[in-house]
């Protein structure tokens, strides 16, 4: 199979590392919503999780 110019080799492949922050932020946002129907304490916990996750996400973007 012929390939076009600018073929990449494996050493130059740059992909993001696995990350726990999308799960953390998603869980935080969902917990905030869930707390509305159950207990606002859960919403508060969700907010904390959300803020923590976003901070981790931003740090990861800065260093990745």
């Amino acid at each position: 199979m012929s390939h076009q110019e600018g073929d990449v080799n494996r050493e130059h492949i740059h992909l993001p590392r696995p990350s726990v922050w999308p799960l953390t932020v998603g869980a935080g946002a969902s917990l905030m919503a869930f707390g509305v129907a159950t207990s606002l304490a859960l919403s508060g916990l969700g907010l904390l999780l959300l803020v923590w996750g976003l901070a981790g996400w931003i740090q990861e973007l800065r260093h990745g």
Partner: protein
Amino acid sequence: MATVASPYPAPAVEELRPSGALRWFTTVDHKDIGILYLVTSFGFLLLGGLEALLIRIQLAVPRNTFLQPGQYDAVFTVHGTTMIFLVVMPILLGLANYIVPLQIGARDMAFPRLNAFSYWLLLFGGLILYFSFLNGTPPDTGWFSYAPLSERPFSLDSSVDYWALGLLVTSVGTIATGVNLLVTIVTMRAPGMGWFRLPVFTWMSLITAWLILAAIPSLTAAQAMLLIDRYLGAHFFDVKYGGDPVLWQHLFWYFGHPEVYIMALPAFGIISEVVPVFARKPLFGYGVVVASGIAIAFLSVTVWAHHMFTVGLGDVADAVFGLSSMTIAVPTGVKVFSWLATLWGGRIHLNVAMLYALAFLLQFTIGGLTGVHFATVPLDWQTHDTYYVVAHFHYVLGGGSLFAILAATYYWFPKITGRLLDERRGRWIFWGMVIGLNLTFFPMHLLGLRGMPRRTYTYDALPGWGELNFAQTIGAFIQAIAIIALVWDVLRSLRRGAAASDNPWNGWTLEWATSSPPPAYNFVALPPIGSARPLWDLQHNVAAVEARPDATRNWRAPIVGILAFIFSEATFFGALIVTFLEYRTRSTGPGPHDLDVPRTLIFSFFLFASSGTVYLAERRLERDDGRGFLPWWVASIVLGATFLVGQLTEYARLYADGITIGTNLFTSSFFTLTGFHGFHVFVGLIALSVVGVLARAGDFRAGRRRVVVDTVSIYWHFVDGIWVIIFSLVYLLGLIS
């Protein structure tokens, strides 16, 4: 995804996929996320299917008492909600997640972490919905949750809340996926892949992404209003205070009908991939198929009121929406004829994927034709809320979208797993699905025309009703057996299926140019792309035609992303603004005349000025003047915060005068519209502050990460711009009138 050398050490390929369960909790690989979507949605399909069986057992014979009326209401509500929001739509988005980056020669989606975030919201949103069963309060107001039934006086428990909150969470994820897909396809196409070299499935995914952004925020806005009614005592849909339940229907169906095409357009894309490959002919009328997809998307946001002909909208509205609804059949018919013309004269390979594609053609066309009946107002009046409607949409979603999904399952399973599904068992399953589907849903046409109403938990032993219903129940069980057999076959094939080659079907698009399953990085290299069928060109030694310069490929992904997000926000605010205009003078008591216009105007100037200071800060950054950037940026934060304080003091004054969100329709819509704007300002202030902190840390020196500043700036300008409209309509219009 950049493919140039990174200043940061690139992870070894093995690092990209941790082993064990950790891989699935932390993955940001579009292929893993696609698999998560597919597996999760299939799990929900089993739940939704179980609910369908409960419905069919209850309706198998007249006067049955298998389910109580309340239980029946809950089961059909969650069945509809599950199938639409947690099964068909996410399966199609999961396929797009897996296949689109491969088809365009990209390494991943534009925003891999956002992609994972979207998936988790789907899962958690679904869990919130199903938690309602554990809590003993499943939603029972229908998947459309019509007001005023969904209002607090008629649904006292939390059932509607779980429905609304669960779908709000999944909808945010879906909108994020829409943004991600759109940005990926616009900015990450491989060199040479111009707009008219995109595979049709990718085209349809792009159009679907646009439709998601255009339609779903209307539902989000409606659900926000419903929750504000239920929790804060507003009156949007509360008839006692003049609230209009028909408004809910408008907002819901403005989302609801495009939603049908969100579930149909990717299916059209699948059929447009499968039919040419197994007819060994290029798709007939590639450009027309793409153009008709675009036409369908635009028309689909103009037809919503055909769901409301029995409301009594008036002759003019009925005529307009009847006409637009009939018009949408034209581009849909064009596609059907394109597929038929592709088959004509082809060397047809009748394997299971192709069988499902052919069955799709027939079954979807039946569903489409009965859809035209509903565009004919007198016919709609006769059949509305009967089983004829249920028959129609199950032919569209079952015979249409589901059969396309099953075609895709057999077509792309080898690529995803490296294994082939068994063709012989597949044929048995196929016939089970075809017979089961038609036995379940065809009699519904007859029952509907005989007047059997939908959404009722039982019926009298009228002539023929019992027999037809019993036949449907048998059909439902045949489908269930076929689906269980498919699950078993998938599990068996994963372990013992024949190994698939990289291109088992001799396909022509780029996903077949890599191994099965693809490596984490998708491709080491790409073949020349000179048409929509690069592998066919390669096999036939067709020289690649140079692509015309395509500036869109060079657009910066975050900028396209924020513009796409703003487009969805415009739909959201559009829904709130229309509601405000409808309600601003509808009730007595407090109204626009109670607002302090001069004071708000002064605070608005602070907000408008902040756009200017953001612009000045950006200019400083352009000149790499970090010291000059920060003061203007901080000034923007101060100005924005001042506006927010001004709004809060306005609220405090109104509350001190006894004017609250629950006072009347004006206050409900005023506080909601301006409150959501204030929330956007608040989020914008956080984003500005984060950028400010990063700027101080030197993150933007020497032009690095400028795109972050540009993206936040665009969002801030949007927040300011939308306030010009809101201020004009809420405050200035009040002065004039």
